[in-house]
């Protein structure tokens, strides 16, 4: 949304790469813990907490991955309106503003929800429940930031200069 100078763009890319690395670290930790869980079943150490940690880490992964998805314009959407180039640009900007609004609400309410739960501890881990809910406000806030700093002309449906009609391929995203 906000045009960035080349140096700032590099900073933004680095920031997103760092989030990507964090996602990989969390994902690898999950894979290891599930493996430990399988091994544990056969040798019986009784590490019953692995499943809960994996579930918490999955929420962290999804929410920390969200800004990366948005920055790279990989969010799944429906793109069937075919308008003029100028109207398409404004349509995509309105869509970004509305997305921002939703993430801002999610972040704000998520933060309140996290604070309310901070004094409780999780049953099997004994840590504050704030750790469990924190990825929701954090990921949503980072998602807002990603919407602000991403290059809007990299959107799949963004009209290119050569007067081509907007992308008529339809919905993006295809992991089916």
């Amino acid at each position: 949304m906000i045009p960035l100078r080349a140096s700032l763009r590099r900073c933004a890319e680095l920031f997103i790469a760092a989030l990507g690395a964090a996602v990989v670290a969390l994902f690898m930790a999950m894979v290891t813990l599930v493996f430990v869980q399988v091994v544990d079943r056969f040798i019986g150490i009784g590490w019953f907490w692995t499943e809960e940690v994996v579930r918490i880490l999955l929420v962290w992964c999804v929410m920390v991955g969200l800004p990366v998805v948005l920055y790279r314009h990989e969010e799944i959407l429906v793109d069937i309106l075919s308008l003029s180039d100028a109207a398409t640009r404004w349509r995509l900007r309105v869509a970004a503003v509305l997305s921002f609004a939703f993430l801002a609400i999610l972040s704000w309410q998520g933060w309140t929800f996290t604070l309310r739960n901070a004094e409780f501890t999780s049953p099997s881990l004994g840590i504050s429940r704030a750790w469990i809910y924190a990825p929701i406000p954090l990921g949503a806030a980072l998602g807002c930031l990603a919407l602000l700093i991403r290059a809007e002309d990299r959107a799949p449906g963004w009209p290119v200069l050569s007067k081509k009609p907007p992308n008529q391929d339809g919905s993006s995203g295809n992991m089916t």
């Binding site: 994902f27 599930v34 069937i80 992991m175």
Partner: protein, 428 residues
């Protein structure tokens, strides 16, 4: 009324181009603010509880295992084996394309992965051997449908996580429908072999078949490991996913195709794809909560019951409605949207839930090859460098065959339930 407004706002946001996840979330938030005194705190709470699920972890694992196997050259091995086995049959590489998809389905859980792997290898080969590109593209897109039907399947993991049905049983239920569809597609390629161009390969010797089989064996062992592991009760689907990842890592290291750099990249891409999928589940959480609170699923079931008490007719109506939805909404989003509304209908009509799930999954999948927005066909056209408009006509017969296959699955429950009942101890 509330539900009607909810859908209206949702559709407007969708048309503006707001991501599906946020369209659902924002419309639900607006409805909540206007029509009720429930605090908005329910939003983060619902988002959290929709993601807080151990089975969902299987999704990044199956995506990762599939891409690791692919980079390690397993697709080449599968294509060689399939061509040695049936390259001489009428339809040549067209038949090979379908058989490759069947075998590749056992390591991939999605149609897009299937198209990317099988298409990028077979489409150029088919072009070289004189097959008409638009027909090659049509066969590739049609056979890619097998990816999410034959286990493992991301759609089945999602459906199981949303409804609490056994993912292992869903996996078993997909095998026979997948093979039935594959057989129907192969028959059509056989009948129309003269129209699609190309030449058959000479028959391979038993030695060649044997050798290519040994090289492709690691691909065929993976689904056995996953399904066998789950069915024997040793592993949950998520744990089977981790074993599949370790197996794929081992295979990649043995074949020398994996190093630290690309392994890191595959881990990252698998999780980022998962994030883009699961955020829809998060966005849909409050939406589905409002729909359930308004009693809409029960009303929908009742409305359908008032319309007809005949379960086959009800199934037909559901199929028709889902096909229309699939024309506009992408597969996973469609599944997440309809599952909470439709699952109670199966109960109202006494339809077996596993059978119903398989029908719904094939239905939403069919949406990904229904023009105008046939996303999988579009993707295949990009890989095959064929204009989308030119591929639609030759693709129509394949579309109709898959539709026919769907009707067979819908009206002959045994196709879905035979394997779960015989081998999975499913006794419903």
């Amino acid at each position: 009324m509330t539900v009607a407004f909810l859908f209206m706002i949702f559709i407007i946001l969708l048309l503006v181009g707001v991501p599906i996840a946020f369209s659902m979330g924002l419309s639900a938030v607006l409805i909540l603010i206007v029509t009720s005194t429930v605090p908005l705190l329910v939003l983060p709470q619902r988002v959290f509880s929709s993601l807080d699920s151990f089975p969902l972890m299987a999704i990044p694992l199956f995506i990762l295992a599939g891409s690791l196997m692919n980079v390690s050259g397993i697709t080449t091995a599968i294509v060689r084996f399939a061509s040695a086995l049936i390259g001489h049959v009428k339809g040549g590489l067209g038949q090979v394309n379908i058989l490759t998809s069947v075998l590749f389905s056992g390591i991939s859980g999605s149609a897009a992965a299937d198209v990317a792997a099988v298409g990028s290898m077979l489409l150029p080969a088919m072009k070289r051997e004189g097959y008409k590109p638009e027909h090659s593209v049509a066969i590739t897109a049609a056979s890619a449908m097998l990816g999410p039907i034959i286990p493992p399947s991301l759609l089945m993991v999602l459906y199981g996580a949303m409804t609490g049905l056994s993912i292992g049983t869903l996996f078993l239920a997909g095998i026979l429908p997948g093979l039935t569809l594959a057989a129907m597609l192969m028959i059509w390629v056989w009948i129309t072999a003269d129209r699609i161009g190309g030449t058959r390969h000479p028959r391979s010797s038993a030695g060649e078949i044997g050798r290519s089989f040994v090289v492709a064996l690691p691909a065929m062992f993976l689904p056995v490991l996953i399904i066998g592991g789950i069915q024997s009760g040793f592993f949950t689907p998520t744990e089977a996913g981790v074993l599949a990842v370790f197996y794929a890592l081992g295979f990649g290291i043995v074949t020398g195709k994996l190093h630290l750099g690309n392994t890191f990249r595959y881990f990252k891409e698998a999780m980022i794809s998962t994030s883009s999928i699961l955020i829809i589940l998060g966005g849909a959480a409050l939406f589905s909560w409002i729909i359930a609170r308004e009693g809409f699923p029960a009303q929908l079931a009742q409305a359908l019951l008032n319309l007809t008490e005949e379960r086959h007719l009800a199934l037909l109506l559901i199929i028709a409605a889902l096909l229309v939805l699939g024309m506009f909404v992408e597969t996973i989003s469609a599944l997440i949207l309809v599952t909470p509304m439709l699952a109670p209908i199966a109960m109202a009509y006494g339809i077996d839930p596993i059978h119903f799930a398989t029908v719904i999954i094939i239905c939403v999948l069919l949406g990904s090859i229904t023009p105008p927005v046939a996303i999988i066909l579009i993707l295949t056209c990009k890989i095959g460098e064929v204009p989308y408009a030119r591929a639609i006509r030759p693709f129509m017969p394949y579309f109709l065959i898959i539709l026919l296959g769907l009707l067979v699955v819908a009206f002959v429950p045994q196709v879905t339930l035979f394997i779960p009942r015989t081998f999975g101890g499913y006794d419903n």
